[in-house]
């Protein structure tokens, strides 16, 4: 479902920039194409410009530069109420002076829909989020999770083409959040709507999305399906932000083959303790340039046959986690090197203080931009 | 030992302070009027008796008396009030009686009772000045020269707005005089329903051109600003604006209404004895004559008249500016307090109803 061809894009940001104060750019040259029916998440730390992007799409903020298109048509000059975009706010924004039913009826009313049709749609939308019995309650009489469902139902009841959600689950506790993630995903699939979702919670982004756009400082650092994002981070920021990573700073000393193109080749990196290791060149310069080698903890083995990336390591700490044991080791002078050892037959049983050997494949070590 | 010494020093100091702090609080109308009293009464009084005079101003010093006396929390020793207020307050038992024998005789020995103008000494009040409600005009804004009270009510001859005090008193009398009623018949006619109708009918003729004022400081301001071309006013205020501030204002004495201002002592005044002393001092022949050199209000004693001299600028003869000057009395009305105490409520109701119409 990944988008490559902008011709089929349903929602499209085309070189969009945004500045609030005329001095700093909050969104820098944003290009993003979203296909119809896709679930795209904007993931990034707080203040990275995610909400701003969403607000520009909804029409509450104007883009300082660039164009936003919906269904191929520029919507820069279309006021929010004519965009037909549903929105779920982090604070839910349920109208406190209206009942749940009235809240849901509101978008239909302003569209001039007849009473009986309205009632039917409201009922269907409420049933859809399993809140059929609550039509006469006021928002204040509902729990957080219930309010969340109502906000969702309200954003969907008028059958918008696109639904935007800005950290919709941020105020819920963990269990409820996971449950709602599942429900939202389910609704997305059954209704076939396009969803643009904002969160700063990476596991939420990874579990729900077709594709994730990782934001940092007003820029998309990587736009990829969750698996790619985890397995193949394209730069240090993404590697750090998504999941856990071991970092080994060093300098590229050689690349296999000729030096015309670095990406996809195996690079030899000289680490800070003087040892060398091999890594897949993803985002590093030619020989002589600084780099950061990044390895996922679960890709490091303590029992494998020695290879080019084998080295000795001292066990510093062990944490028993049931299905696996988390080991902190000193590797190449890095005290924070973590390895996850499956708690299964055939895996070595480590003891604190002992010296062992760790090994990883060159393909699993990614030479990225230095931090 | 040392402690005792300090204590006694402190005590004697305190006692000394207490005697030095003999005082009397006098409430008056503010502005140039209070100033004239401070110069002519307060300062010489303190110089002679060492009693400090605290001067307090109010829009109408009669106003707080009832509330203070009823609440048993009197802070004023002497108040300068209008005639009808003095009578009414006295009736309600809110004032101390003043024995006329405490008032000093005239320099030639005439007893005070004989020296004061008729009506100036009442059971609970002693008059200090004769003031009057006159009308005045702004020379720069009026074409021609108004000379009679009839001109005030003639907007055909003298177009422009008129300022009038928002009260039935004086307004109705002036309306009748403008309608041709001689001064000595005014209250007789005003005592009849037809007379009241006649007064209001006369007021009707200029109603749309009236700007109403309430505080004595307003008319000179209204005249100076050009808001009105003529206005009724207290004669002293106009004098002050015209002479001290050189405003182009002129008083018309025809149809003036004379009134007393009197000193009264609220019941339960904290410094009653000092208040008596103050009143005796302030209403002496010399004090009253002195006051007249600061503001153009007439002294309430006959013997003071001869002593009235120049205004403080040293070049304006005060005598012709006094309401009591012979030339100014040709068509003058003396306010009948008894009439107003009787009819105040009724006529003010009618007046307010007429205003609201």
């Amino acid at each position: 479902m990944a988008m490559t061809d902008s011709g089929a894009a349903f929602v499209e940001f085309d070189r969009v920039q945004k500045s609030y104060d005329g001095e700093t750019l909050v969104v820098k040259d944003l290009n993003l194409q979203i296909a119809k029916g896709e679930f795209v998440t904007m993931l990034g730390p707080s203040g990275s410009g995610k909400t701003t992007c969403l607000m520009m799409l909804a029409g509450f903020e104007t883009a300082t530069h660039g164009e936003i298109r919906l269904g191929g048509v520029s919507i820069n000059d279309i006021p929010p109420h004519k965009r037909g975009i549903g929105m779920v706010f982090q604070s839910y924004a349920l109208f406190p002076h209206m009942t749940v039913g009235e809240n849901l009826s509101f978008p239909l009313e302003v569209r001039g829909m007849g009473k009986s049709e309205r009632e039917e749609k409201v009922k269907r939308a409420l049933d859809m989020v399993q809140m059929g019995d609550f039509a006469l309650r006021r928002p204040a009489q509902l729990s957080g999770g219930q309010q969340q469902r109502i906000a969702l139902a309200r954003a969907l009841v008028f059958e918008p083409q696109v639904v935007l959600m800005d950290e919709p689950l941020g105020a819920l506790d963990k269990q409820l959040r996971e449950h709602m993630q599942f429900e939202i995903k389910h609704l997305h699939e059954s209704l076939g709507i396009t969803v643009v979702y904002v969160t700063h919670d990476q596991s939420e982004a990874l579990t729900m999305s077709d594709r994730v756009a990782v934001f940092e400082n007003g820029r998309i650092q990587q736009l990829a399906p969750p698996a790619d994002l985890y397995e193949r981070p394209e730069n240090s920021f993404v590697a750090q932000f998504i999941g856990e990573n071991n970092k080994l700073p060093g300098t590229v000393v050689a690349l296999d083959g000729d030096n015309s193109k670095t990406e996809g080749k195996i690079a030899t990196v000289k680490l800070e303790d003087g040892a060398t290791c091999e890594a897949l060149a993803v985002k590093c310069g030619g020989p002589g340039s600084k780099t950061l080698v990044s390895i996922r903890p679960e890709r490091v083995s303590v029992s494998a046959e020695p290879g080019p990336n084998s080295t000795t390591a001292q066990v510093l700490e062990l944490i028993y986690l049931g299905d696996h044991i988390r080991c902190r080791l000193n590797v190449h002078g890095n005290d924070e090197f973590v390895v996850k050892v499956p708690n299964a037959a055939g895996h070595k049983h480590l003891v604190v203080g002992e010296t062992t050997q760790v090994t990883w494949d060159a393909e699993d070590a990614r030479a990225l931009d230095p931090l | 030992m040392k402690k005792i010494l300090i204590l006694t020093t402190a005590l004697t100091g305190f006692a000394f302070a207490a005697t030095a702090e003999e005082e009397v609080t006098v409430m008056s109308w503010g502005g140039a009027y209070t100033k004239s009293q401070v110069e002519a009464y307060h300062k010489p009084f303190t110089a002679e008796t060492a009693i400090k005079v605290v001067s307090v101003d109010a829009d109408n010093p009669a106003t707080p008396i009832k509330a203070q006396v009823e609440a048993g929390n009197v802070t004023i020793d002497v108040a300068d009030v209008e005639f009808s207020d003095a009578i009414r307050l006295c009736d309600e038992g809110l004032l101390e009686e003043i024995d006329p024998s405490i008032l000093p005789p005239a320099p030639d020995g005439t007893p005070a009772i004989k020296d004061f103008i008729d009506g100036a000494i009442q059971d609970c009040a002693v008059a200090n000045i004769v003031w009057s409600t006159v009308f005045a005009y702004n020379k720069d804004n009026v074409k021609g020269t108004p000379t009679s009270i009839a001109d005030f009510f003639d907007t055909g001859k003298f177009p422009g707005k008129r300022g009038l005090r928002k009260s039935a008193k004086a307004t109705l009398e002036m309306a009748l005089m403008a309608d041709g009623v001689p001064a000595d018949k005014v209250y007789e006619i005003l005592n009849t329903p037809e007379g009241v109708d006649r007064a209001f009918a006369k007021l009707d003729t200029i109603k749309d051109d009236i700007v109403w004022w309430e505080a004595g400081a307003q008319p000179p301001q209204l005249l100076a600003d050009g808001e009105v071309v003529m206005s009724t006013a207290y004669n002293g205020r106009i004098f002050n604006a015209a002479v001290a501030e050189s405003q182009p204002l002129e008083v018309v004495w025809d149809g003036q209404i004379l009134d007393f201002d009197l000193f009264v002592i609220p019941k339960g005044a904290p410094n009653k004895d000092n208040a008596m002393k103050f009143i005796a001092f302030a209403t002496s022949t010399k004090s009253l004559a002195d006051q007249a050199s600061y503001i153009s209000y007439g002294p309430a004693r006959k013997s003071s008249g001869a002593l009235v001299g120049m205004y403080q600028d040293g070049k304006t003869e005060m005598a012709p500016h006094m309401p009591t000057a012979e030339a100014n009395l040709s068509n003058a009305l003396v306010n009948n307090f008894e009439f107003w105490v009787d009819h105040d409520a009724e006529l003010n109701e009618r007046f307010n109803a007429w205003l609201a119409k």
């Binding site: 604070s91 | 038992g93 005592n191 409520a345 205003l355």
Partner: protein
């Protein structure tokens, strides 16, 4: 304990040590309640002393006046009954009895006492409230009472024929009782005729009802004007960044910090017919020099000045309800398809209603009671009922009348408040 929880049908729950649960609870709460009461006691006393007692006294004064029955020596505090002989005659003879020689004899006896006590003015003033012109009747009568010889009726009538006025006798009869509805009648432009029947006063003296009505109308107008002006200001204050909104707030509060005289002077400079506004309009050719608009010393002046003074009382409650309204409500409405007007009307406005209600009530009640401003800039048709209350308090000294007018005003406001509660609901009120 176990019993109580496991056996819900057990009627009397008990605590662990067997005391009835309800009693234990009451005991536990009684102490905290006592402490709470002690804490609010100073406030309670303060309110009783400064508020309830004076209002009670005012209400009493409006129906109670002993000016014709008791003379009070304010120095000694001693009270002497007066007009006792006449009161006795009134007791013995029913209303409507032609006053006979005995009545006049009693009257003369009482007049002599009035002279002695110097209470003629007081008694006369009380009668004068209802029958204009009778105060001098009493002072004159008391002065001459000693010299009068029987038959007293003839003697008094010779002194002044007004003594035979049946209306006078009706008023004296009603005044000889301390409790009276006269002041309420007068406050509603009504009076009693000689036979004691209630009737309207002559048309040219009817003023109070008219002024009540005008006060109501102007107060409503001022409330509406302040609302129209304050709403956008409050909205701006609530949405602007704090830095700017604080500055704006200072401008809003400025009227509070300025003395009334300074304000009055500035209104005069602005509004009078030779003032800045008129000069500007003449200069721009909007009006001719001869047709300057009168904006001062009339109703317009009152409305402008009072709107200015009372504006903050509307802005502050509005601001306090607008500030916490999350902007995402309006955004949500817009995203749901509402135009900005619909979003305002259906979503924003209803949430500000408590502020409007509070501000409206506050401004209205203050406007009803304001008297200084109308007195200064009101002119002839900008006078309000409170000006007449002030008149009776300060000038005519007829405090009973002032109290009756004030009581009516209070009653009117309470009725409006009640109506308001029925229509809007008091719980819908948010004061700051």
């Amino acid at each position: 304990m176990v019993d109580a929880t496991t056996n819900p049908t057990n009627t009397g729950l008990t605590t662990a040590d067997g005391k009835p649960l309800k009693a234990a609870l009451a005991h536990a709460q009684a102490r905290s309640r006592r402490r709470a009461f002690l804490l609010v006691l100073p406030l309670l006393l303060f309110i009783v002393i400064t508020f309830i007692v004076p209002i009670g006294q005012m209400l009493k004064r409006s129906v109670y006046n002993d000016g014709f029955t008791v003379q009070r020596n304010l120095t000694t505090g001693e009270k002497t009954p007066i007009m006792v002989n006449l009161a006795k005659w009134f007791d013995e003879n029913p209303a409507g009895t032609e006053p006979d020689e005995a009545a006049f004899a009693a009257l003369v006896e009482d007049l002599k006492q009035l002279k002695e006590l110097r209470a003629a003015g007081q008694a006369g003033t009380r009668i004068n409230y209802e029958l204009s012109g009778s105060r001098s009747l009493f002072t004159q009568g008391a002065r001459k009472a000693k010299k009068l010889q029987p038959p007293y009726k003839e003697a008094l009538l010779e002194l002044n024929p007004k003594w035979n006025d049946p209306k006078l006798w009706q008023v004296m009869r009603s005044a000889s009782s301390n409790f009276t509805g006269t002041f309420f009648l007068a406050a509603t432009d009504r009076t009693r005729d000689a036979d004691g029947n209630i009737q309207s006063v002559e048309e040219n003296r009817q003023i109070y009802l008219k002024l009540f009505w005008r006060t109501l109308k102007l107060s409503v107008l001022i409330t509406v004007l302040t609302l129209i002006l304050a709403y956008p200001i409050a909205h701006l204050l609530a949405t602007l960044p704090l830095r700017y909104s604080n500055l704006l707030m200072i401008f809003v509060l400025l009227p509070f910090w300025t003395s009334l005289l300074v304000r009055t002077t500035s209104w005069m400079i602005l509004l009078q017919s030779q003032g800045v506004l008129n000069d500007a309009m003449v200069a721009m050719g909007l009006i001719s020099d001869g047709n300057r608009i009168q904006m001062m010393y009339n109703q317009t002046g009152t409305v402008i000045a009072m709107t200015h003074i009372l504006l903050p009382f509307m802005v502050l409650p509005l601001y306090s309800v607008m500030r916490p309204i999350n902007p995402s409500y309006v955004r949500a409405a817009r995203s749901l398809g509402a135009t900005s007007w619909t979003a305002f009307r259906r979503i924003y406005f209803p949430q500000t209603v408590p502020g409007i209600a509070a501000g409206g009530l506050l401004v209205f009640i203050l406007a009803v009671g304001y008297y200084i401003t109308p007195a200064l800039v009101g002119g002839s048709d900008g006078t309000l009922i409170s000006n007449l209350i002030a008149f009776h308090m300060q000038k005519s000294l007829n405090w009973s009348m002032a109290a009756a007018l004030a009581s009516l005003l209070l009653g009117g406001i309470l009725i409006l408040y009640w109506l308001y509660d029925r229509l809007v609901g008091i719980d819908n009120l948010k004061l700051g």
